[in-house]
């Protein structure tokens, strides 16, 4: 298995190098300094800027330097936030993103697999039809509209109506934990302490709910299709002929077979949840990865864009490799050799 993982890693190295190359090249289509300082920057200023960030070197040198420093987790200093390194920004923005994406992913997957299973099992009956129609209708509305109305109903209306109950906040994000760190064998490991669930509910639950509702349409349809396919397999009849109950057929026979597409789906959504939450993070003022990155893009903060993309792409590739390993765990037909 380790040799398999190693081989997959080696196979993905050119892909990863390609990503970095592509992003860096795209960012250098226009002179990044002018892009950042504006068209009318004076020449001296530009020269100094270029020197301090090594932008006068040939592209290949810059590329090599980025890779070399990146391997040591050093992505340089942000242009916009002077004195702050990209790594600091990255580490600070990961926890807020995860506070939303992880619960959202877990909830969405659990609910939509169950709904998909039910829908497939009652295929063609009214409950299935209703769910299919609801999924198609839900898919046809823009993410933005969900967020705007989610905020309206979840935060604005309660405030206006003066119910005395204001469960959700839509601005002024505060972390629901304080970071502490501890030394384990000389390595400083940060961990969250002083967790405050009420703060989490106030700032994160509404975006999580919106995210779940938005993804439900797509996921339910996908899982239903997977389950319908499994429903038509011969082994279902064999299990029934053995005297298995409906629940045993659904949750033991079908679910284990359906694990393969389910795992693929979950693993490929992992990196997308980071980007999917860009909009949520912007609307709710959450300083997560997505919002930080989009702000960096519109600010032309090049070291930030490069550093963030490098890390996100790495996570994506790792998740794909992990998917392959998980396959082997659920499907005896797949061998990691």
């Amino acid at each position: 298995m380790w040799s398999f993982i190693l081989r997959r890693l080696l196979y993905n190295i050119p892909v990863y190098l390609g990503i970095i190359l592509l992003v860096m090249a795209l960012l250098r289509v226009r002179n990044p300094v002018y892009a950042y300082l504006g068209k009318n920057a004076d020449e001296k200023q530009v020269e100094q800027f270029e020197k301090s960030f090594g932008l006068q070197d040939p592209f290949i040198v810059q590329y090599g330097r980025f890779l070399w420093n990146g391997a040591q987790l050093d992505f340089g200093e942000s242009w916009k936030y002077k004195g702050t390194t990209v790594r600091e920004k990255l580490l600070a923005s990961i926890p807020p993103s995860l506070s939303i994406t992880v619960p959202a992913l877990i909830l969405t997957t659990m609910i939509s697999i169950t709904v998909g299973l039910l829908s497939a099992f009652y295929r063609g009956r009214w409950i299935d039809r209703l769910l299919v129609i609801a999924a198609v209708l839900g898919m046809s509305i823009s993410f933005l509209v969900y967020i705007i109305f989610g905020q309206f109903v979840g935060a604005f209306l309660p405030k206006q109506a003066g119910w005395g109950l204001q469960p959700f906040e839509i601005s002024g994000y505060k972390p629901w934990y304080t970071m502490a760190s501890t030394d384990i064998f000389g390595v400083t490991v940060p961990y969250p302490s002083h967790i405050s669930p009420t703060t989490w509910v106030a700032f994160c639950l509404l975006p999580v709910l919106i995210s779940v509702i938005v993804s439900m349409g797509y996921d339910t349809r996908f899982y239903r299709a997977v389950m319908v396919e499994e429903c038509n397999r011969d082994y279902i009849i064999t299990a029934k002929a053995k005297g298995a109950t409906k629940n045993k057929i659904m949750f033991v026979h079908m679910l284990k077979n359906a694990m393969i597409p389910i795992i693929t789906r979950i693993m490929t959504t992992l990196p997308f949840l980071i980007t999917g939450s860009i909009l949520l993070e912007i609307f709710f003022g959450i300083p997560g990865m997505g919002r930080t990155l989009i702000t960096a893009i519109t600010d032309m903060d090049y070291p930030m864009i490069q550093g963030f993309t490098a890390v996100i792409a790495l996570l994506y590739i790792l998740s794909i490799i992990l998917t392959d390993v998980l396959y082997a765990l659920v499907d005896p037909r797949v061998r990691l050799s």
Partner: protein
């Protein structure tokens, strides 16, 4: 092979007026129409006919394995098994019957086993539902069953997955699953169709041997008359959803009453009797669509003895007294058509 075996004991399964309908895009379709038969303990009954004549639907109706929301077993139908009417029994009762008292094996051994579970687990699953054996005993029984179906190295094989076995081996596993609770009836739906000829014979011999050992009645569904001749005691010939003739293997093969049976028998290739260059007789035409059944005899369109009456009126199933019945206005005379019964 027992021939001319008259049913002496009480039947364990009595099917009367079984009618199964499907809801389709083009309206209701009667896939099985008024089928009746009995099964006695330890006998082998063959159901033969062309594809789409209702053989599989009949067997799945008995097990109630058809998709519920598109099929309907007519309330007149009676499937009496040990005093229970399976046609109307609750799902819970059916679960107790399935796998324990009536078991079934299917045509496609390649896909009928669950690919992600060990075969031992799949045998043990049935034992878990129907016996009080503990885990170790179930494993023991699974190994025993694999040995019984002549799978070499059963101790090792229980831990293997279906994709590691060949088609014939998988069908043996299916038989092991079906027989592990020693059912009274085993319904085998085209168990050998997907297999190589040599493997076919092995599987049939195995089933025959197990039947003797366990005294299980077998309902063998097939379109292969050679197989029927080899293992069955009695035969039901179906056509377009109806039973058109039934009787002992000997009677059916030597003195078919229905022209369809006769035509089917003629279309079996016979060793040594065939002249070179001569075409094998076939039955002209195709089975009528269940959506547009003719008003008269369903076989009339293709029948070489067709008369006006056949086209306009549908014949009743007639009992001819010697345990045989047929659905024809003009049954054939008693001349033997196929004097040799093929045994392979």
């Amino acid at each position: 092979m027992i021939q001319d075996a008259e049913p002496q004991a009480e039947p364990i399964l009595t099917v009367r007026n079984l009618t199964t309908r499907f809801r389709t895009d083009r309206g209701l379709v009667t896939a099985v129409d008024d089928v009746s038969f009995d099964i006695v303990a330890g006998e082998t009954v063959g159901i033969v006919g062309e594809s789409g004549c209702g053989k599989t639907v009949t067997s799945k109706s008995i097990m109630r394995l058809l998709p519920e929301h598109v099929t309907r077993i007519d309330p007149k139908s009676r499937i009496m098994f040990r005093g229970i009417n399976l046609a109307t029994a609750s799902e819970k009762t059916m679960r107790e019957v399935r796998g324990d008292q009536i078991a079934m094996i299917f045509q496609e051994p390649m896909t009928s086993l669950n690919p992600v579970f060990q075969i031992g687990w799949q045998i043990e699953e049935a034992l878990k539902y129907h016996t009080n054996l503990n885990r170790a005993q179930r494993r023991q029984r699974a190994i025993e069953m694999l040995r019984l179906v002549e799978i070499p190295n059963p101790e090792r094989r229980v831990r293997e997955y279906p994709h590691q076995l060949s088609g014939g081996m998988r069908q043996r596993v299916m038989i092991a699953i079906a027989l592990c609770c020693e059912p009274d009836i085993l319904i085998a739906d085209e168990p050998t169709t997907a297999l190589d000829v040599t493997i076919q014979a092995q599987i049939l011999n195995l089933m025959e041997g197990l039947k003797r050992k366990l005294n299980t009645a077998i309902v063998l569904i097939t379109h292969n008359l050679g197989v029927v001749a080899q293992v069955c005691d009695r035969v039901l010939v179906m056509y377009a959803g109806r039973v058109i003739e039934s009787g002992t293997v000997h009677d059916i093969f030597h003195r078919p009453q229905h022209p369809y049976t006769q035509a089917l028998l003629e279309s079996i290739p016979k060793r040594g009797r065939r002249e070179h260059g001569k075409r094998l007789p076939t039955i002209p035409g195709i089975v009528p669509s269940l959506h547009e059944l003719p008003p008269g005899c369903r076989f009339a369109e293709r029948c070489r003895y067709k008369q006006d009456k056949c086209v306009n009126e549908e014949p009743e199933l007639l009992e001819s007294g010697d345990g045989r019945s047929y659905r024809c206005f003009f049954p054939l005379t008693q001349t033997p058509v196929a004097p040799t019964v093929e045994g392979r």
